[in-house]
Symmetry: C2
Subunit: 428 residues, 2 copies
């Protein structure tokens, strides 16, 4: 039996009274701390400032294939950018499309195009089908779910396990239902749990039977080099595995430099079979004259090679690891052993996921907000913003300073304990 549950009603009430006084004092401090999004902090942004110097008015402006990057052309990216990202993602340059500043846009547009034109192998555009469904391992990334909502795609929750999505569930669902056309995955340091999918999960994704023959795995490899330890997680290459299984076309991979260089001024890429990309390029050509090649070259010149990206990401880790540790330490100190929460201890990514007692998450987030600590909305990590158990809270430790973080965690932990005690009292 855990500590708080073991307390009598009187003891719980005493503890609650004490905590509410503390909470009251926090409110009087008029804090204003934002931990709602996975945003790099200013020290992280400083790490890439020299990228702004690599291209100047006197720099050569040609690609290795002789294209003037200042002019039109190169719809799907310059060769040196394709090469760099191909190496980073373990695919071929012909399997890379470099596009814009945001992998979110690439994902949105991939879904939008599938709705309007279908994907390679579709019998008809998805919008002409009676309904379209996506599997959503939960908790997951709210912006993925937002894209589905925008296009009226029905979302089906799939349980997350420490190895990745529950593949028994996934396999059963995709084998049964032709309307299931896709699944959202953050396979490495998942949002928000920080889970990296096991080789077995990747293999099952690569080989599983799908009723829909135009099923696509949206593999958002957002945190592929965003490690927090020197023993980073290893993710098996899905595109390679799917190719081996004869299912290359089911894979749409996405990544970006948003959290390597500058969010909003980075470079995003999509990786897929050459045939998938050929199909997409025709529609892409009607949408754009290509993405910013100067910024592509700026990134290539800044990084030069994958080893430099890795070295650069070690500098990021040196900034953010202490913040993750600080949050985890606060959890252990304030909430450990009380039997009211569990949390993830990720090896990378941008989030720590905390699960409260059933029915407490919304109250915790609201209370923290009232005390000036803005957290990701409770439920945001679930489709339609509905956490069926109202338990999951996503903590984004990177942006605040360590001083702010210390304060925010103190507030947060008090809120968690208050909500938990109220819940326990209600059950007694």
């Amino acid at each position: 039996m855990s500590e708080l549950e073991a307390l009598s009603v009187r003891e719980l009430n005493e503890r609650l009274e004490h905590l509410e006084k503390t909470y009251g004092r926090f409110k009087e401090e008029n804090l204003s701390l934002d931990m709602s999004r996975g945003k790099p902090c200013p020290e992280q942004l400083e790490l890439s400032m020299e990228m702004l110097d690599v291209l100047s008015s006197t720099s050569p402006m040609e690609t290795e294939n002789g294209v003037d990057i200042r002019n039109y052309g190169q719809l799907d990216g310059i060769p040196e950018a394709k090469k760099l990202f191909a190496e980073l993602l373990g695919v071929g340059p012909e399997e890379i499309l470099v596009g814009g500043n945001s992998s979110l846009s690439l994902m949105h547009d991939a879904v939008a195009r599938a709705m309007f034109h279908g994907v390679k192998g579709s019998e008809r555009p998805w919008v002409q089908l009676p309904n379209v469904k996506f599997l959503c391992p939960t908790p997951g990334y709210d912006r993925h779910f937002g894209i589905c909502e925008l296009f009226n795609i029905e979302m089906i929750n799939v349980e997350m396990t420490p190895e990745g999505p529950n593949m028994d569930q996934v396999e059963r669902l995709v084998a049964e239902d032709e309307a299931i056309k896709g699944i959202w995955c953050v396979p490495k340091y998942s949002n928000p749990h920080g889970i990296t999918y096991s080789d077995e999960v990747v293999d099952r994704f690569a080989t599983m039977e799908t009723k829909a023959n135009d099923f696509r795995i949206f593999w958002d490899d957002a945190y592929t080099v965003h490690h927090l330890t020197e023993q980073p997680d290893q993710l098996k290459n899905l595109l390679a595995a799917a190719k081996e299984a004869g299912n290359a076309d089911r894979v749409f991979m996405f990544a970006s430099t948003s959290k390597m260089t500058f969010p909003g001024a980075g470079v995003a890429v999509m990786a897929a079979s050459a045939e998938n990309l050929e199909f997409l390029r025709k529609q892409l050509a009607a949408q754009t004259i290509g993405s910013d090649k100067i910024n592509q070259l700026r990134h290539v010149r800044f990084f030069e090679e994958v080893e430099s990206i890795e070295a650069h990401m070690n500098k990021h880790a040196a900034v953010v690891k202490p913040k993750f540790d600080q949050v985890l330490e606060a959890f252990r100190r304030n909430l450990g052993g009380k039997g009211i929460v569990s949390w993830s201890e990720p090896n990378g990514g941008y989030f720590i996921s905390l699960d409260t007692l059933k029915g407490c998450a919304k109250e915790v987030v609201d209370m923290a907000g009232e005390a000036g600590v803005k957290l990701t909305g409770a439920g945001a990590t679930f489709p339609y913003g509905i956490d069926p158990k109202d338990r999951n809270i996503r903590i984004a430790p990177t942006f605040p300073s360590t001083t702010e973080l210390e304060k925010a965690m103190n507030v947060f932990c008090v809120c968690v304990e208050i909500a938990s005690i109220k819940k326990l009292l209600g059950e007694k």
Copy 2:
């Protein structure tokens, strides 16, 4: 009666024989000249090279409202960029959305969103209607037509006059047919004719009755400051006129710096009523975390104010005006007074439009191509690539050097005359 028509069959045959010898000699030169797209030349690109120096690793990175441009945020643009483009387009900053590197993408996405979600005032998404039609003043811009083709939007040709689209036609069509949801316009220095719409045309657009209450004018103000003379054309402000008429929501304006700074690495904007933009922002938020704010600030710092943009565009004019003159001079010298062609003499923009005798355009473009002079495909300036009279050829003088242009025009004029004589002989 014009010169060539006045010749006898024998005289025409002699002239044809002479021209074909000349053409044969051109072919032996193995030329490779590309005049197919409106591309700035390297000298024009050099004019903006200093823009690459205005932001460096030591520059302040905050907007005037204190936002770190290196991080997430500012979905629809930074305030200083909104202000600059608002002044340039004669609208309010709240009527500007700064988005990405390409106005083509903004137009594509505006159509895509209208199809999926409708626009403000739509009873339902356009994709759910039995059919959707757009008016297309012709000849016009092939990429506009490409967007319609992508979304299965039926295109209806509207005649161009020297004042703009034939407004009698436009008014009649939009008043009659609820399926007509939009019209494509390049209102200043139109593509390809170089026509600037008259005040009367703008007013009629602002005030006309439309059967569809969610009709939109796609006002692609691509060449708004791209003058070739010191007495530039003046375009009346459509958004202001439409506001006055109570029709503010029917206007979607677009512009970009693609041909001011760098194509592909510029900044694109959309201007529309604040209500239209509010409607769009909700969908935009699901697509993107915002466009490249560093590049926005780079542009703002490079230009500072509209006067500098105008001074900068004068430098562009100094480079390209001689090329336009060279083409026009070649036309006058080689084709003038022969009664076989007419051409536009624009005050700005990127193109000269030439009309051949009926049924000759495709042959001319093919012949020029065989001699190594690549032109915009005949028919490209019409919906579905079909020029009903096979007459229109779009000449893009900016990219080639003056030496290349001289050669290209010699080849081109010979091709025009050969095709014309064959046509005349066929009629005799």
